[in-house]
C-alpha cells in the first residue's frame, strides 16, 4: 500500500512539473533571421506514386542545387542560399495534408513546392490555404484543383483539360478523318479528368464517342480491349500512367486491337514507356506541354539547351516535362521574390501575402516556357502561358506532329496492322 502511495505522489509530482514546464515555455519565439530560404517540398517519396514523386524531387533538387551553385537567390542586393525540406506525402492525400502541416508548423518554411499527383495536391492545398503559405506545384494536372479557387496554390503544368483538347484537335484534323473514338481512363482524379477532357473535346469537334469508361488502376485491361475491338473505333483515347500505357499496348497487340491511332495523354516520350512497350510504342500519339529541344530563355540557366545539358550531366538523360515544370517552379518563385519588399528569410505573414500577389502578376519565361497564372475562373492559378504539343512515336522517338505551326513531321496515320509492322 505504501509503495502505491509513493508512486501516486511521484506521478502527481511529474504532472505538476510538466504543467510548470509548459507554462514557463516562451509563448512564441521571435522569428530568428536566417541566411537561407527554407523551401518545403510535399511529395510522395513512398507508396504507389513514389515514381512520380521522385520525378518532381529530381526537378526541385536540380533547381536548388543550381541556385546554390550560383550563390543563391538574390533579394534586395543580397544573396540567400536555399535549403529544401522534404515531407513525404506517402501517395496518400491525408498524409500529404499532414506533411504540409508539418512543413508549416514545425519546419517554418518560407514557401512550398507541391506534390506529384492531383490527389495529394488536393490533400495538401486546404492546409496550405489555412496557413496562408505560398505554394506552387510542379505536377498536378487535375482540373478539379483549379476549380476550387485556392488563393495560395499555383501550378506550372496546364490542367489536363487544357492539354488534352490540343491532341484531340490534331487528331480530328488528320486525313483520312477520324469519325469515331473510344475513350477509357484509369479511375483516379488525374486520369479520369484526362478521359473526360478527351470525351468532351471529341464531342465538341463532332466526333462520335462510342464509349466512355473508367477502369480501376491495376485491373487487367484485356476485357476492355476486347470490348473496344468489337466496337471498332477509328481512335482509342486513353488517360492513365506509363504502367497502364504499357499494359494497354501489350494487351492490344495480343488481342489484335488495331485502331488507326492510339492517343495517350502523357508519358509517351518517357523512357519507361518507350522501353517498356518496346516496338508496340510505335505510332502511339501523346501530348506534352514541353519537349527537350524547345528553345526558351531562362533567368537561372540561361536557356532550355543549357538547362537540359545540365540535367543530362546529372542523370545521364534528358528531363521529362514534369521534371522541367518542377524545376521551373523555383524560377517562378525567384522572379516573384524580386517583386516584393523583404529583408530576407524567414518571410513573415505580410511578406508571404505580398509573394502571393506577386505570383498572381508574374510573367516570366523559363526553360519550361512562358509562365503566367490565370487569376480567376475554372483555371484560377494554373499556368496558361504554354503551347501544348501533340507527339507521335516514330522510329522509336517522340516527334511533334501538332499543332500545325509547331509540326516537325507529318503524323503517320493510320497505323498499319500489327502483323505488317
Amino acid at each position: 500500500m505504501q509503495s502505491h502511495a509513493r508512486i501516486r505522489t511521484l506521478a502527481i509530482g511529474v504532472v505538476i512539473l510538466l504543467l510548470l514546464a509548459t507554462a514557463c515555455a516562451p509563448g512564441k519565439p521571435a522569428a530568428e533571421k536566417r541566411d537561407y530560404f527554407k523551401v518545403g517540398v510535399v511529395t510522395s517519396l513512398s507508396g504507389s506514386l513514389a515514381n512520380g514523386g521522385n520525378i518532381t524531387k529530381r526537378g526541385y533538387d536540380y533547381w536548388a542545387d543550381t541556385v546554390n551553385e550560383q550563390g543563391g537567390i538574390e533579394v534586395n542586393g543580397q544573396q540567400y542560399r536555399v535549403e529544401l525540406v522534404f515531407a513525404d506525402a506517402k501517395s496518400d492525400p491525408a498524409q500529404a495534408a499532414a506533411a504540409a502541416e508539418r512543413l508549416v508548423v514545425e519546419e517554418k518554411v518560407d514557401f512550398i513546392f507541391g506534390p506529384y499527383s492531383s490527389s495529394a495536391t488536393m490533400g495538401a492545398a486546404p492546409i496550405i490555404e489555412k496557413h496562408k503559405m505560398p505554394h506552387i506545384t510542379g505536377s498536378a494536372e487535375s482540373p478539379s484543383i483549379w476549380k476550387e479557387g485556392f488563393r495560395y496554390t499555383f501550378g506550372t503544368i496546364p490542367a489536363a483539360n487544357l492539354m488534352a483538347p490540343a491532341a484531340v484537335k490534331t487528331l480530328a484534323a488528320t486525313d483520312p478523318t477520324v469519325k469515331t473514338v473510344y475513350v477509357v481512363g484509369i479511375d483516379d482524379p488525374f486520369a479520369s479528368a484526362v478521359a473526360e477532357a478527351f470525351r468532351d473535346t471529341a464531342e465538341e469537334l463532332g466526333l462520335e464517342v462510342l464509349e466512355y469508361t473508367l477502369v480501376p488502376s491495376g485491373a487487367d485491361l484485356s476485357p476492355i480491349v476486347s470490348k473496344a475491338k468489337a466496337a471498332a473505333p477509328d481512335a482509342f483515347l486513353f488517360g492513365g500512367h506509363p504502367e497502364n500505357h504499357i499494359a494497354l499496348m501489350k494487351a492490344s497487340q495480343e488481342l489484335g486491337f488495331n485502331p488507326k491511332a492510339f492517343l495517350i495523354h502523357w508519358g509517351v516520350e518517357t523512357a519507361d514507356f518507350l522501353s517498356g512497350a518496346g516496338d508496340q510504342a510505335e505510332y502511339v500519339w501523346g501530348t506534352t506541354p514541353w519537349m527537350p529541344n524547345a528553345n526558351y530563355s531562362d533567368p537561372l540557366w540561361g536557356d532550355t539547351k543549357a538547362a537540359v545539358e545540365g540535367f543530362n550531366l546529372r542523370h545521364g538523360r534528358r528531363p521529362d516535362y514534369t521534371e522541367t515544370a518542377s524545376a521551373a517552379t523555383g524560377v517562378v518563385f525567384m522572379e516573384a521574390l524580386k517583386q516584393i519588399e523583404t529583408d530576407g528569410p524567414p518571410l513573415d505573414e505580410q511578406e508571404k501575402e505580398a509573394l502571393v500577389e506577386a505570383l498572381e502578376n508574374v510573367s516570366v519565361t523559363t526553360w519550361f516556357g512562358p509562365v503566367s497564372f490565370e487569376r480567376s475562373g475554372e483555371f484560377m492559378h494554373d499556368n496558361i502561358g504554354l503551347t501544348v504539343l501533340t507527339l507521335q512515336i516514330q522510329d522509336g522517338n517522340a516527334v511533334v506532329i501538332g499543332p500545325p505551326d509547331q509540326q516537325e513531321v507529318k503524323p503517320r496515320y493510320p497505323a498499319p496492322p500489327w502483323d505488317e509492322r
Binding site: 515514381n51 473508367l214 470490348k227 499494359a247 501489350k250 495480343e254
Partner: protein
Amino acid sequence: MELFAQTVVNGLLIGGVYVAIAVGFSLAFGVLHIIDFAVGEWVILGALVGWTLTEWLAVEPLFLLPLVAVGFSLLGWIIQPLIRRVVTGDRPLPVLMGLVFTFGLGILAQAVAFLVWGINRRSIASGLGGQAFELHVAGISLTIPVLRLVMFVFGMAVVAAVSTILRRTRYGAAVRAAAQNPVMAGLLGVNVDRIGRIVYAAYAAITGAAGMFIGMLFAISPEVGLQYTTFAFFTVVLAGMGYVPGVPVAGLALGLLQSLVATSRLGPRYVYLVVFLVLYLILLVSPRGILRRGWA
C-alpha cells in the same frame, strides 16, 4: 456472342494469372501455416530479376524461368529457418507472428528492390509478347494470346504437380503428416525441419517464376507488390486457406467475374466492388472457401 466468348476466354486467362501467383502461397500456408505477406514482393523480385537476366543475357526470358526458379528456391531455403524460429517454440499466436514477420520481410524486399532497380517501370520483352492465335469454334473467332496461355498452363501444371505429390507419393504423405501434426510426424521419423525448408523453397520458386510471367505481361516496379499480395490473398481465401486444389477454381472464378463485370453494363469501374462483394458473400456463407475444404 463473339464478344461474350472472348470475354470468357479473357477471364479464364486472367484467372490463370491469379492461380500462378496464389498456388505457392496456398502451399506455404497449408503446410507451414505461414501467411506470407511478402508474396507480392516475391512476385516483383521474380519479375525484376527476370528483367535483369533477360537484359544481360539477351535470350528469350521463358528459357530463363528455370534459372529464376532455382535461384528463388535457394533464397527460400535460406530464409525459411528464420521464419520457422518466429512461428514455432513457445510463442503465442504463431500465425500472427508469421504474418507480422513476413510483412517486415516484404518491406525489406521492397526497399532492396528500390535500391537495386530504382523506381522505373519495366517490362520483360518476350518473343511471345503480343503473339496470339485465332481459334474458330462454331462460327465464332476467338483470339488466344500465347503468353497468357503459357502462364495459364504454368499455373495449372504447378497445381497438378503439387496436388499429385501431396496426394499420391510417400513424400507427399510425409509432408501432409508434418502439416497436420509436426510433433507426431517428427516422432515417427519424418524430418519436419527439412520438409519445411523444401516446401518454402518450392513456394519461393513458384512465386518468383510467376513474377517473371507478370513482368512479361504487364509493367512492374518495386512499389506494386502489395497489389499482387492482395490478388494472392483473395484467391487463397476463396479457395479455402491452405487447400491447393481449390486454387484453380477460385482463381478462374475471380478472373471470370472480373472479365464479365468489366464488359457488362455495370462497367469496369465497379470490377473490384463486385469482386469484393462476392468474396464477402461467399465467406459469409462458407468461411472455409468456395469448396468448403480450407481452414476455418
